[in-house]
């Protein structure tokens, strides 16, 4: 059983969590170019590596950030939004 550490609820089986995908900062639509906006809307980065993702502990609806190596599928760090990145 894979274990993930929720910042509030502690270590739990990964089946209690779901992933909401990579954190993707939105460019300012008033100042960015059309190419930058189209890239943000349509393209996703599928290259493996260390990424920051939104995850949720579904039993308590706790949303938090996971730093995960998507190549090795290893969770490096979990923390609440607003805590030191």
């Amino acid at each position: 059983m894979k274990i993930m550490i929720c910042p509030v609820n502690g270590p739990r089986p990964v089946s209690e969590f779901f992933c909401w995908g990579e954190i993707r900062p939105m460019p300012d639509p008033d100042t960015c170019s059309d190419d930058e906006w189209a890239d943000y809307v349509f393209n996703r980065n599928g290259a493996p590596g260390v990424k920051k993702e939104w995850w949720c502990h579904s039993a308590s609806n706790t949303w938090f950030i996971v730093e995960r190596d998507t190549e090795k599928d290893v969770v490096l760090r979990t923390y609440l939004y607003g805590e030191a990145a």
């Binding site: 509030v8 609820n9 739990r12 089946s15 209690e16 579904s58 039993a59 308590s60 706790t62």
Partner: protein, 217 residues
Amino acid sequence: MNVNAPVLLSPVHAALLARNPVWSEAGVTPPAVLGFDGNDAQRAAAVGIADLSHLPRAGAKGPGTADWLAAMGLPVPLQPNSWNQLPDGGLIARLGLTEFLVEGDASITDTLMQTDRAAGVYPVLRQDASFALCGARVNELLLQTCNVDFRTLDAEPSKLILTSMAGVGVTILYTRTFTHPCYRLWCDGTYGLYLWDTLVGIAEELGGGCIGLNALR
């Protein structure tokens, strides 16, 4: 009892009704089950599951909630995922960082629902299904339905756990409020019937089953 009467009923009312329960005295709403047959105590000794959905409860969340509840004289738990006993026998639970569940006497929950809320306090509708699990083999039932080792709760009496049980998000704590030490469990009311049927089925396999309030207290 007239089931068509416009009173608040337990989410598992239909399942209770099918087992011919002995209800609490008329006029108490929502009604509580006092017992089922003469064997409630035997089932409670093995694995007993009682429906406590009738207990009055209130919920609130938001960054100003802890201060708002403390100003009303309630013993607010300081740690996330912990709970405190209320003087009248009810409880106040801190679910996560800023959400609270209060269960106990209707005078307290009614006050919470009717008092003007401070800034940063938002009401939470609590229409939970709430059960109590007791008995010598209750941990076998928990092991079959859940991934958390609940025996640690006995050593940390103020702790509560939010986890997934048989696929349903639940809040669980361990209490010695009743004569029988038991696990209290809350889940969304719409999952109540499924969870009740699942837990009663496993409890019956373990030599127990559903019990009424009289076997618990």
